[in-house]
Symmetry: C2
Subunit: 132 residues, 2 copies
Amino acid sequence: MNILTTGQLAKKAQVNVETIRYYERRGLIPEPLRSESGYRHYSQDSIARIQFIKRAKELGFSLKEVSELLSLRVDPNTNCADVKRMAEVKITDIKEKIHALQRIKEALTKLRASCQGSGPAGKCPILEALDT
Amino acid sequence: MNILTTGQLAKKAQVNVETIRYYERRGLIPEPLRSESGYRHYSQDSIARIQFIKRAKELGFSLKEVSELLSLRVDPNTNCADVKRMAEVKITDIKEKIHALQRIKEALTKLRASCQGSGPAGKCPILEALDT
DNA sequence: ATAAACCCTGTACCTAAGTACGATGTCAAG
DNA sequence: CTTGACATCGTACTTAGGTACAGGGTTTAT
C-alpha cells in the first residue's frame, strides 16, 4: 500500500478525484508517475501536499496564492521574509474584509431597529431606507 | 427629458448598460415600454429602482434576495415583519462571516509571530505549520 | 446624406474552484 | 470470461454577477 491511485489518494486526503486532476492541471501538485496503462501513481507525500493546499485555503489563500507559497518553499533564493510578507498581506486583507462586514452589520442593525415589525411591507422603514 | 433610454438610465444610475438588461432578464426591473423601433423607454422611477438594488447589494443581499425584498414590497399580504426577518437573517449571516474571518486572522497572526523573518523559506515555520 | 453614436438581440466570456459526464480502457473477483 | 469498480481524457457545466461581442437597425449631428 505504498503507492496510491488517484481514487485512493482522494479518499485519504478527503477530496474529490476531480479535484486532484484539477490541482494537477493548475500545477499545484506535480505530475505523478504513471503505470504501464497510464494510471497515476502517487506516493504518500502527495497526501501531505494536498493537505498543505487545504490548510492554506482554510487560511484564506486562493489557489493562486497557494502556488506562490509552494514555489517559495522550493526556491532556494527566497527566504522566510517572503513567506512572512504574504501572511501579512493576507492579514491586512482579512482585516479589511472584517471592517467592511462590520459596517454592513451596523447599517443593517440600525435598519432593523427602525422597524416595529408590524404594518404592510410597502411601508416598512427598511424598504423605505433602500428607496432613498 | 422625462423619458430615458437604456444608456441614459445607465448613466444616471451609474451602472453598465448591460447590467440593466441583465437585471431585466433576472426580473429585478420590470420590462419597460418600447418605442416604435423597439427602444426601451424608462421613467424616472427606474433610477430609484436600480438604486434600491444597489443599496441592498451594498448591505450584503444577493440579487436573489433583492428579488424577494422587491416582491415583499409589492405583495399586500406581507407585512413589515417579513422584511425585518430578512434583515435579521442577514445580520446573523454577516456575524458568522465576521467570526470566521476573525478565526482566520488569529491563526495567521500566530503564524506570523512564529516566523523570525530570516533564513530559507524551506524552513519557514509558517510553511512548516501548513505541512503538519 | 452620411458618419458617429446609439440601441437591439443572442450568445459567449469572465473569475474561482471545482464538479459532472461521456466515451473508452483496465483491473480484480467470482 | 464476464461483470463491476475503477481509471483515463477532454470538455462542459456550476454559482454569482455581471461584461463583451457580433451583426444588425436607428437616431442625431454635421
